[in-house]
């Protein structure tokens, strides 16, 4: 009957969500890299000093820089606008949850096409304060990417012009699915999930502006001003 026990354990595991990733307390960010390998990393150290917490190299030649979350907007803007960096292309904003109460990591993947360089920035946010400055004023591309992170991880981006769910329905009430404590099959029963899914209208997915059914007075900016 060993197989039955494994089956039971597997079913229980599905409801508990994945286990936390292991970490070495000696080197929480991984091994340190050589800043001389990447001109941007050296420049970051020189200009921002204490805001640069760690630098590492993964997968051979991918440079990862851990920064203080409080200064992310300042650092990102400098990386884009400094003539020596010119990271004009924000290729991705995402997040990582390692589970076990560890902080969530916001990840920025930048690409400088002019100087043919890539760099990855990471900022750790404690679970109690999941807030970081938005990158939308710097790159428009961050708009939907940050909405996705907000939707799936529950991280709030300060200063985002339109921070709402993008993948899950607007009235989704089960939480943020990519968090480690989220059960694989969701928090509600299948019957309740089906009932809710069918009771939704297009207005639950799109704003009146997107549907093209709103008059001028319903637009976001004027509503706030009136």
């Amino acid at each position: 009957m060993m197989a039955d026990k494994d089956f039971e354990a597997g079913l229980g595991g599905l409801d508990e969500g994945p286990a936390a990733s292991a970490t070495d307390p000696e080197t929480p960010f991984g091994e340190a890299g050589d800043a001389a390998d990447h001109p941007t990393v050296a420049a970051l150290h020189e200009r921002f000093g204490a805001a640069i917490l760690h630098h590492g190299v993964v997968a051979g030649d991918e440079h990862v820089v851990h920064i203080q979350p409080e200064r992310n907007a300042e650092i990102l803007r400098w990386l884009k606008e400094d003539p020596g960096q010119r990271y004009l292309y924000l290729s991705d904003v995402t997040a990582v949850d390692f589970g076990g109460g560890r902080p969530l990591e916001v990840v920025y993947q930048l690409w400088s096409m002019e100087l043919k360089r890539q760099i990855r920035l990471k900022a750790q946010l404690p679970l109690a304060a999941l807030e970081i400055d938005s990158a939308v004023p710097i790159w428009q591309a961050a708009n939907w990417l940050e909405r996705e992170v907000f939707d799936l991880f529950g991280i709030t981006f300060r200063g985002h012009p339109d921070l709402r769910r993008i993948m899950m329905p607007d009235n989704y009430a089960e939480g943020h699915p990519l968090r480690k404590d989220f059960p694989l099959r969701g928090r509600f029963s299948r019957a309740e999930q089906t009932r809710r899914a069918l009771s939704m209208e297009v207005e639950d997915y799109y704003t009146p502006e997107e549907l093209g059914i709103a008059g001028d007075k319903h637009r976001h900016g004027q509503e706030a001003g009136a």
Partner: protein
């Protein structure tokens, strides 16, 4: 002509179809089963095979599926090809409700039929929780031959329908936009292997008893 309403036809008081009704059934079923226009609801890789079925090599037009009907108003058979997330459940149900009777539904592939490998928070565990399904086509994805076999099976099913049985074409307006199954059944389907076991049981083709399939069930 009143052909669509069973009550308008000469039916013997006992309820048994008369000679004429049976001939009408034959005519109507012949017309219906040989001119089924599919409503393609393709959401994933199964849709690629569905397109291949409609293209020259397999060409389901040979069997009466003359053209894909991209408006549900002119469609007869909804082919749900691919996985359906909960966000698509409402559009799927709405499309089904927009199709006029007579209408049928084919659930193509493992994901549409039972959720497939996607036993996750976002995925509908079988579209029969949303809309009634006539034919399930297994496979991941099924080959075009599989879909065509399913369509031919549906034609066989239509052969057995009768106008005197108006109940099979009746729709309760209160059920529009509601789940197709009661909550308890949906819960049962959501168990591991739940939906495939239930489909096997209702088909009567495969034994689902504990003795026959001990590994499938969690008791």
């Amino acid at each position: 002509m009143g052909l669509e309403r069973g009550s308008a036809l000469p039916v013997a008081p006992t309820g048994a179809p008369s000679f004429i009704t049976s001939k009408l059934d034959f005519l109507v079923n012949w017309a219906r089963r040989n001119s089924m226009w599919p409503m393609p609801f393709g959401t994933a890789c199964c849709a690629i095979e569905m397109m291949a079925s409609a293209a020259t090599k397999y060409d389901i037009a040979r069997f009466g599926m003359e053209r894909m009907s991209f408006s549900p108003r002119q469609a007869d058979v909804l082919i749900c090809a691919g996985r359906v997330p909960y966000k698509m459940a409402s559009p799927l149900r709405r499309i089904w409700d927009q199709m006029p009777q007579p209408k049928w539904c084919i659930s193509m592939g493992a994901c549409a039929s039972s959720g497939g490998v996607f036993d996750a928070y976002s995925m509908v565990q079988g579209i029969d929780t949303i809309i009634p399904v006539d034919v399930y086509v297994p496979g991941c994805p099924p080959r075009p031959e599989g879909l065509i076999y399913g369509l031919l099976m549906l034609q066989e099913k239509i052969k057995g329908e009768s106008l005197s049985n108006a109940a099979i074409r009746e729709e309760d307006p209160l059920r529009v936009g509601r789940p197709n199954l009661p909550p308890e059944t949906i819960e049962e389907l959501a168990l591991p292997f739940g939906n495939s076991t239930l489909q096997n049981r209702t088909s009567g083709l495969v034994s689902t008893s504990l003795v026959a399939r001990p590994d499938d069930r969690k008791e």
